[in-house]
């Protein structure tokens, strides 16, 4: 399994310029809305023609501007799961799934459809129309329809954006199971970092038409390789910093020095620490490494988590006067009531990352 994508396409306000090559099976494409990630899928499936470059999937050339190859959508036959599922409203569920199976005999068609309906938990809704089933069922029908033709590649365009939140988590798990069984390459586009992390092992981070970073998901989430990647993967605390030594940096705005595990190479850049990696300690000793006195400037409560807005070193003058965000459980928050300000914040050097400007 291998794909090579190297394409350029002029869009309305920026250029799509993607170079991506991989042998992985499931790849998440993570990027903000309007970063060109859906356009990439459209180029691969043949809905949109790139200006130049090449697309080669499992050794089959879909597009090559130099060799003047541009296969039609029909010839590429990739499975495409549209954001709105794009089921045929005039056909029943069973007819939808059977749509691409013209080459099979009537009998084979029937057994393939019923096998898929069973596997995708579509039970006895085969005779219903798309408007008569739920959003989650529609998604499964769309996926069953796409894999029915046994494509070598599946392209999923924001598959959960049309679902309610409570349904979404359930569907992510279900989709994850179904994708594991799919024998082929899956490219999955999302703007949601949790979905990307849950569904794929490898992630390509997209920013204004370009792949910022491509790599193993844990590595990307731990030490994002660029400022944009840090933002897109949801890091809340990013601040200018300078290099002091190979494993120490200085944050001028906070006036603190931090030890890092990551080797620091450039002289100036940004340091980041995720809000959930910041610990508030019980003991009152701030002399230890990467431990600092902090005061709470503001806080906001979610149903299960609390976000604290902390200021290092001195009492905040207002609620907006804070340095960093820290995410803890409600229970941990209640525990803080037993302690006195200032609290002691510990920043684990393993989770501190540094990116060039």
């Amino acid at each position: 399994m291998e794909f090579i994508i190297d394409i350029k396409k002029k869009l309305y306000d920026f250029q799509l310029d993607v170079k991506l090559q991989s042998k992985e099976e499931i790849i998440g494409i993570l990027g903000a809305s309007g970063s060109g990630k859906s356009m990439l899928l459209r180029c691969i499936a043949g809905l949109v023609k790139p200006d130049q470059g090449q697309i080669i999937i499992n050794g089959k050339t879909f597009f090559d501007s130099e060799k003047k190859i541009n296969l039609s959508m029909r010839e590429r036959k990739v499975g495409f799961l549209f954001q709105n599922y794009a089921l045929f409203p005039n056909m029943t569920i069973a007819e939808n799934i059977a749509f691409g199976l013209d080459k099979l005999s009537k009998h084979e068609k029937k057994s393939r459809v019923s096998a898929l309906m069973e596997k995708y938990h579509l039970g006895d809704i085969g005779k219903r129309y798309p408007s008569q089933i739920s959003g989650g069922q529609q998604q499964r029908v769309a996926l069953a329809r796409a894999v029915a033709v046994e494509p070598e590649m599946l392209l999923l365009d924001e598959p959960f954006s049309a679902l309610d939140v409570h349904l979404r988590n359930h569907m992510i798990r279900e989709l994850s199971e179904l994708l594991k069984e799919f024998q082929g390459i899956t490219l999955f586009v999302t703007h949601n970092r949790d979905e990307a992390y849950y569904l794929s092992d490898y992630i390509a981070v997209f920013n204004t038409g370009k792949v910022e970073i491509y790599g193993q998901k844990d590595a990307i989430f731990k030490w994002p390789g660029s400022l944009e990647t840090a933002k897109i993967t949801g890091c809340k605390n990013i601040v200018e910093a300078t290099r002091r030594s190979e494993n120490q940096l200085y944050v001028p705005q906070w006036d603190i020095a931090l030890r890092t595990v990551m080797k620091i190479e450039p002289d100036v850049g940004f340091m980041g620490i995720r809000a959930n990696q910041i610990k508030l300690l019980d003991e009152q000793d701030s002399q230890q490494e990467n431990c600092f006195k902090v005061y709470i400037a503001d806080e906001s409560e979610g149903p299960f988590r609390t976000w604290l807005y902390l200021k290092i070193g001195s009492r905040p003058k207002s609620r907006a006067d804070f340095h960093l965000q820290c995410e803890i459980s409600r229970e941990q928050r209640r525990h803080l009531d037993n302690l006195e300000e200032p609290f002691i914040m510990y920043i684990n050097p393993d989770y501190v990352f540094f990116v060039a400007q």
Binding site: A45, M73, K77, F80, A86, F99, Y129
Partner: protein, 227 residues
């Protein structure tokens, strides 16, 4: 009252033939045009729509120029001894020209309403363009196409000006209901005219009502409310 029923049969024959031709022609051209985005789109669309805004007599004049005794098509057909001017074929041609824009415009509107993802989905599933058209585009756009067909039928049935110019009013041969109404009124036979008015009224209303019921039945079927 000496009542000749022949205009009814002529009208029905002309209307059904013209509607059938306009239906397929309009469907095809609307589909081609909704997939075409070249620089000539505006011009071609304008030409195809023109008969809708021009007086039917202008359309009739144009048809006469083409198929008349001295027109290029008329000349060509004369070689085979065929003369279509002042025959019921001419009435069919007049109806086609005048009704075509209604079918074309309404159908193209319906095609453009289709979610493009649905058509792309069909293509990525390996469907040929013929399959995309007949199994996806036409059924999905069916309400619009049905409305377009009903309008086309009504327009063909009611065609008067162009028909009179190219087919004349030969009783028993080219005299359609609208023309019969005109000449009956001219000749002071108000009762005859009134009967024809009521007949044409009944036919048009029947077609539109059947169309409405059939559409709402289809709609309910897809929503699961019956049949």
């Amino acid at each position: 009252m000496n009542f000749d029923l022949s205009p009814a049969w002529i009208s029905i024959k002309v209307t059904l033939t013209a509607t059938a031709i306009v239906f397929f022609l309009g469907l095809m051209i609307a589909w081609l045009m909704s997939n075409y985005n070249g620089r000539w789109k505006g011009l071609i669309d304008g030409i195809l729509t023109l008969p809708l805004v021009l007086p039917p007599t202008v359309a009739g004049f144009g048809i006469l120029l083409l198929i008349g005794k001295n027109g290029p098509i008329g000349n060509f057909l004369e070689i085979f001894g065929v003369n279509i001017i002042f025959s019921w074929y001419a009435a069919v041609i007049a109806a086609i020209v005048v009704a075509f824009p209604l079918m074309y415009k309404t159908t193209m509107g319906a095609f453009q309403q289709i979610d493009p993802n649905i058509l792309s989905a069909a293509r990525t599933l390996g469907a040929s363009e013929v399959k995309v058209f007949w199994q996806v585009a036409v059924p999905v756009a069916r309400p619009g196409i049905a409305a377009a067909t009903a309008l086309t039928f009504a327009r063909c049935l009611g065609e008067f000006g162009a028909t009179l110019m190219v087919a004349g009013s030969i009783p028993g041969k080219t005299e359609t209901i609208p023309i019969a109404i005109y000449f009956a009124t001219q000749g002071g036979e108000m009762q005859v005219a009134l009967v024809w008015v009521l007949i044409i009224f009944a036919i048009s209303l029947t077609v539109l009502v059947i169309n409405n019921y059939w559409e709402s039945h289809k709609k309910n079927q897809q929503r699961g409310l019956g049949g």
